[in-house]
Symmetry: C2
Subunit: 124 residues, 2 copies
């Protein structure tokens, strides 16, 4: 349950040169589109926001997420699964409850990908 399926905005390397640096090839575009598509739903965006608001290392129990929506529990579970498959969040069961957190660095890497003013080269 704690392995994420996508590695686009990978931990290790800068996945892509940045949206404005050079035209994306088909593969890069396909992988990155999955991440944006995951964020392209109001419910998932709110879920992400609720989880991310806990800060680095923060966690949220599903039992706190579900009642915030006028949606059935399976629907929330489905959206959380999509976010997880997009490599944005991960989860762990602890006893009765399941906790979700934002994978560290993902959002900042996404942001860096969108930024037009390329950050200065880290030479060290």
């Amino acid at each position: 349950m704690s392995k994420h399926e996508l590695e686009v905005i990978g931990q290790d390397a800068a996945c892509c040169p940045g949206l404005s640096v050079a035209p994306l090839d088909e593969d890069q575009a396909s992988e990155l589109a999955k991440v944006f598509k995951a964020l392209g739903d109001p419910v998932r965006l709110r879920l992400m926001s609720m989880i991310a608001s806990r800060g680095e290392g923060g966690e949220v129990c599903v039992c706190e997420l579900t009642p915030a929506f006028d949606l059935s529990q399976p629907t929330i579970s489905h959206h959380l699964k999509l976010l997880r498959q997009a490599g944005l969040i991960d989860c762990e069961r602890r006893g009765t409850w399941v906790y979700y957190w934002v994978l560290p660095g993902v959002l900042d890497r996404l942001a860096a990908f969108l930024t037009t003013t390329q950050p200065a080269e880290v030479t060290a």
Copy 2:
């Protein structure tokens, strides 16, 4: 043709506190989701990249975009329309050709919205 429909990542103000600052309300989430949804397709992401690669003030003729894809011309036109409705790009007809450009600042504002480490308050 040169008015964009969405004003989420508005020029004027910081649309939203940032994804990780506080949970988004439904309205903010709905508006922002439209932008991410627009980027959530490989073709549109490549289109954005091709346009954004021209840099600030840069333009691309549709006649340069279309042949880069194995898609019909109406399909490309449709995707460009969606990007425009999302408030990401704009276009202008000049004679026979139509030129597209990235609306200034949109990508950087999107990036700022995703960034977890909130930028220092600009006091000046």
